[in-house]
């Protein structure tokens, strides 16, 4: 019983306990003396609230004293306080931001019901670099898969596109997606208002309906709940609004604002190569993803066996069939890697911040040894000093942590720029509180752990020594720890610098890739002609002719042309061609990129004409099928320089090559592009699907291209006042967007690397300053004995450089490993790129020299006289 009471007394502050615990125990014993067990138990129970009530104000009083003392002592060391706060803030903030974004994108389930069961299906492989689907499904193939598989609760199809929304001020071009009635149920998200397009699976969809995104509902319709039942004009067709989706719903990508029913015309099933669909489905309950994949590949095999005419060809074009994946794996593996690299970098910063904190605390411990020794000598108990230290460090770390939250709040939106818009999630992740807690825990642990060192030493004998001699006696072991900590910082910096350097090299390498066109001075914009108003080729032709004629007449315009797709924007449109008498070979060997264009396109793009001639307006009228092909196309099928005049089969019709032009990187700078084939606009397939319609206007100008925009807008308005203009950009912007994610990532990494370098520099400086101060006497004696000041300065500087070299070795090893894990982002830059490693280590040495300069100067200025007099 007494023991329990004594244990209870431990709730009091130790100073109070030491003073009065014995007396209080005696009173407890006396009170309970001679009474029964039950009464003593009652006394003990009554003591619990009493102890709590009395201990709390005692603790509070001590905390108040300690905080007041903390404020006083930190006011004397503002630089130290500021550094601790900044280091903590960076460590906590960078990690919170990086992990919040990574968690939001990589870990959090997508906002669909049971997202693990939602799967996607499209044609062609998803390339190793992770670029999503290569190709789309034809309606016939989609129907075959849907009918013959048994793993799906529902399987629906959708087609990405855009519509012109007319009404209101300006005609608006919106990203829209057409979907079959199965798609919304497959995703399992109920509408906010109204119902789904088509009224659910099974029912025949009414093509004249539309479902709005929350964003469109808010911006265009003011969030009016009465929007249901209203009619909007999409591509000139009236559509009734039947539903509004919730704010968190995005599909298939973030920018889609409108959904309309997808109605596949019966004749579309007739052409197994007319592919424009993607599929999304929900797995049946108790069917695993793997079982569904097996089911699907079984169906594919059977189809290839039963209908080789279609499915062998499809397999050849799509390089082996279909891609089947969970919707959560939709974003590219590249992107996952990018975020993982970011997380790794922020972990480096955390290690660095902790090492730096430890170092700062140890340095301060050295500086305060005397002060603490004095307080200990004046009767302050060891526990009391420890308590004081804890309060002091906790206060610092708390302020730093709060600042870290701010850094995180600022950092998350910046890092969120790395989230590509092609994900079905919101663009703005929030701060993750769990992450914040973990980062705060580590920094607090470091701060407190190392902050306690001086108080622990204060009670020891060394402290008494410090008091007696008046000399900072902390010696070898502490310097050893600190040197190790500095080396850790250098190592972390080297990792960041090398990784960042490799990625910078990769960006430069990507930027150095020749896109095949000259991007300067080119304006591009899109006019998608709505159907059915412009359903027939004949109805569209006057629009293009009129616009091109008038744009070419504008002052400053050198060339203008329409194309069915810009390079790097429209990466699909893959078709197969063969030479007469040959078979399609498997493995995509006959794949070419197919574009319909008007004359002057090559002049507008600045693509060289290597042989033959450009397409001409007369080609469109001639019944003969002609084509311009790219150099790689010509090389694939014919001996050098003999392509012009040769023929090939495309869609079972003979086409004659009239010209050869340079290759363009149609798939993007970092990908292998198919050879290109350019056909006259008269060949565009008829129908509602507009993938091959002419829509991109390309204008090369001798004046700044954007200055032409008002005039071009005027021309288009004159030709058709209801025609919206979208996707206005220069070709240079388009090219820059190719490397935008890389550059964003490099910027973030570079910022972290600079921070790391700065912290490491501070660490090196701190350690050397400490060493010099400690060796003052030795240096003084040496100088008195005739040592060269320059030699002493060199020694101090060498100390700094040595720290760098020691840290660089493990740093380089980790960097080599890190580079291995991001190798797919390096675009062929070697992991052990000597230039990058050289620059990284060089920067560290340079930082070390700067950090060493002040201590070295101080060492040289040591006056032998003063030091020896002090003895």
């Amino acid at each position: 019983m007494i023991r329990i009471y004594r244990a209870l007394l431990r709730l009091y502050p130790s100073s109070f306990r030491q003073e009065f615990a014995d007396e209080m125990t005696a009173i407890f014993t006396q009170r309970g003396a001679g009474s029964g067990m039950l009464r003593r138990l009652g006394l003990l129970l009554a003591a619990v609230p009493e102890v709590l009530a009395n201990a709390a104000p005692l603790h509070w009083e001590l905390l108040r004293q300690d905080l007041a003392y903390t404020v006083r002592s930190l006011r004397r060391a503002p630089l130290f306080a500021a550094t601790v706060v900044i280091v903590t803030a960076l460590g906590v903030g960078a990690n919170t931001a990086a992990f919040s974004v990574a968690d939001f994108v990589l870990v959090q389930p997508l906002p669909f019901r049971d997202p693990e069961s939602v799967v996607r299906l499209c044609a062609g492989p998803r390339e190793g670099g992770g670029w999503g689907c290569n190709n789309l499904l034809a309606p016939a193939a989609y129907r075959d898969y849907k009918e013959q598989t048994s793993s799906f609760e529902v399987l629906g199809a959708f087609a990405r596109g855009a519509v012109n929304l007319v009404g209101g001020s300006e005609p608006l071009r919106l990203a829209a997606t057409q979907l079959t009635p199965e798609v919304f149920p497959a995703l399992g998200v109920p509408p906010l208002l109204g119902s789904f397009v088509g009224g659910g699976a099974g029912a025949a969809p009414d093509a004249r309906t539309a479902v709005l995104s929350y964003g469109l509902w808010q911006t265009r319709f003011g969030g009016d709940p009465g929007v249901l039942g209203r009619t909007v004009s999409l591509d000139g067709e009236p559509h009734v609004v039947v539903g509004v989706m919730p704010q968190t719903f995005y599909f298939p990508t973030r920018d889609v604002q409108l959904w309309t029913p997808l109605v596949v015309a019966e004749e579309a099933f007739g052409d197994p190569f007319n592919n424009y669909l993607e599929a999304v489905g929900r797995l049946r309950e108790a069917v695993t993803f793997e079982e569904a994949a097996t089911d699907l590949s079984g169906v594919l095999e059977r189809l290839r066996r039963d209908r080789p005419d279609v499915y062998e060809q499809l397999a050849a074009r799509d390089q082996g069939g279909v891609s089947f994946f969970r919707i959560g794996d939709e974003y590219s593996p590249r992107f996952r890697l990018m975020l993982q690299a970011l997380v790794g970098a922020s972990l480096c910063i955390l290690v660095l911040a902790c090492a730096n904190l430890a170092n700062l605390m140890l340095a301060r411990a050295g500086a305060r040894e005397r002060e603490l020794a004095v307080r200990a000598a004046l009767g302050a108990g060891k526990e009391r000093l420890i308590r004081q230290m804890i309060t002091e460090n906790a206060a610092l770390v708390l302020v730093g942590g709060a600042a870290g939250v701010l850094v995180g709040v600022v950092g998350v939106p910046l890092l969120a720029l790395l989230v590509p818009p092609t994900l079905p999630i919101a663009s703005r992740p929030g701060i993750d509180l769990r992450v914040l807690a973990v980062a705060a825990f580590f920094t607090a642990l470091t701060g407190l752990g190392f902050g306690l060192a001086p108080a622990l030493r204060a009670g020891g004998r060394a402290a008494l020594g410090a008091l007696r001699t008046g000399v900072r006696s902390s010696g070898g072991p502490q310097r050893g720890y600190r040197a190790a900590l500095v080396s850790v910082q250098v190592a972390a910096s080297v990792v960041l610098l090398v990784s960042c350097g490799l990625l910078v090299r990769a960006v430069l390498r990507v930027q150095a890739v020749d896109p095949g066109f000259r991007s300067e001075g080119v304006l591009t914009l899109q006019t998608v002609l709505p159907k059915p108003e412009y359903l027939s080729l004949a109805s569209r032709e006057p629009f293009y002719r009129e616009v091109l004629t008038r744009v070419r007449a504008l002052p400053g315009v050198e060339a203008a042309a329409y194309t069915s797709g810009l390079p790097m924007v429209m990466t699909g449109g893959i078709t197969q061609v063969v030479l007469p008498g040959q078979e399609v070979r498997p493995g995509g060997e006959n794949n070419v990129s197919r574009r319909y264009v008007t004359p002057q396109l090559f002049a507008a793009f600045g693509v060289p004409l290597l042989a033959g001639r450009d397409l001409e307006d007369s080609d469109a009228q001639d019944s003969a099928n002609v084509a311009v092909v790219s150099e790689s196309f010509a090389r694939r099928y014919w001996p050098a320089n003999q392509a012009v005049g040769q023929s090939f089969l495309f869609q079972n019709r003979l086409h004659t090559v009239v010209g050869v032009v340079g290759d363009m990187k149609v798939r993007g700078l970092e990908r292998v592009s198919e050879p290109q084939m350019y056909l006259p606009a008269s060949g565009v397939p008829e129908g509602f699907i507009s993938a091959y319609d002419l829509k991109d206007l390309v204008i090369r100008a001798s004046v700044p291209p954007t200055s032409l925009l008002p005039a071009v807008r005027g021309v288009i308005r004159d030709v058709d006042p209801e025609q919206p203009i979208s996707d206005v950009r220069t070709l240079s912007e388009l090219l820059a967007s190719q490397t935008a994610p890389r550059r964003a990532q490099v910027r973030v990494l570079a910022a972290l690397a600079v921070v790391a370098l700065l912290l490491a520099g501070v660490g090196i400086h701190g350690l050397l300053a400490f060493t010099v101060a400690q060796r003052q006497r030795e240096i003084g004696v040496r100088l008195a004995l005739g040592a060269e000041p320059a030699g002493i300065a060199r020694r101090v500087a060498w100390d700094g450089v040595r720290l760098v070299l020691i840290g660089a070795v493990p740093g380089l090893l980790v960097a080599y490993w890190a580079a291995h894990s991001i190798r797919s982002m390096l675009f062929g830059v070697p992991r052990a790129d000597p230039a990058t490693i050289g620059v990284a280590v060089g920067l560290c040495v340079f930082t070390a020299l700067i950090g060493a300069s002040v201590p070295a100067l101080r060492a040289v200025r040591v006056s032998p006289l003063t030091v020896i007099q002090a003895e």
Partner: protein, 119 residues
Amino acid sequence: MRTHDNAVQAKLPLPPATFHILVALSAGDRHGYGIIQDVEARTEGALRLSAGTLYRTIQRLLDEGLIMEPPKSSAPREDPRRRYYRITKLGTAVVRADAERLAQMVSLAKGAGLLAGAS
């Protein structure tokens, strides 16, 4: 002794526990349990100090110089192992001033007819 008066006045009014502890010590040196028993007897069991409250108050009174710990040898003790406390001159002045303050307030209340036995 203007400053002394000020020092005394600054400590008023005393919290009840403090008042009772000082009153108990006015009668002579006591150890902790002795104080508790004395207060309990004087108040006829109405106030029973807990050990925590007692020593928290004692710590403060020691800090403020209202009581002191007499040297061990200064007086004979019934239990020499226990710690005894003694009221200081300042402590006596403070508790007296508080008692006077209370008396004044009592007579004010009586004058207003709030208390039985009004004079």
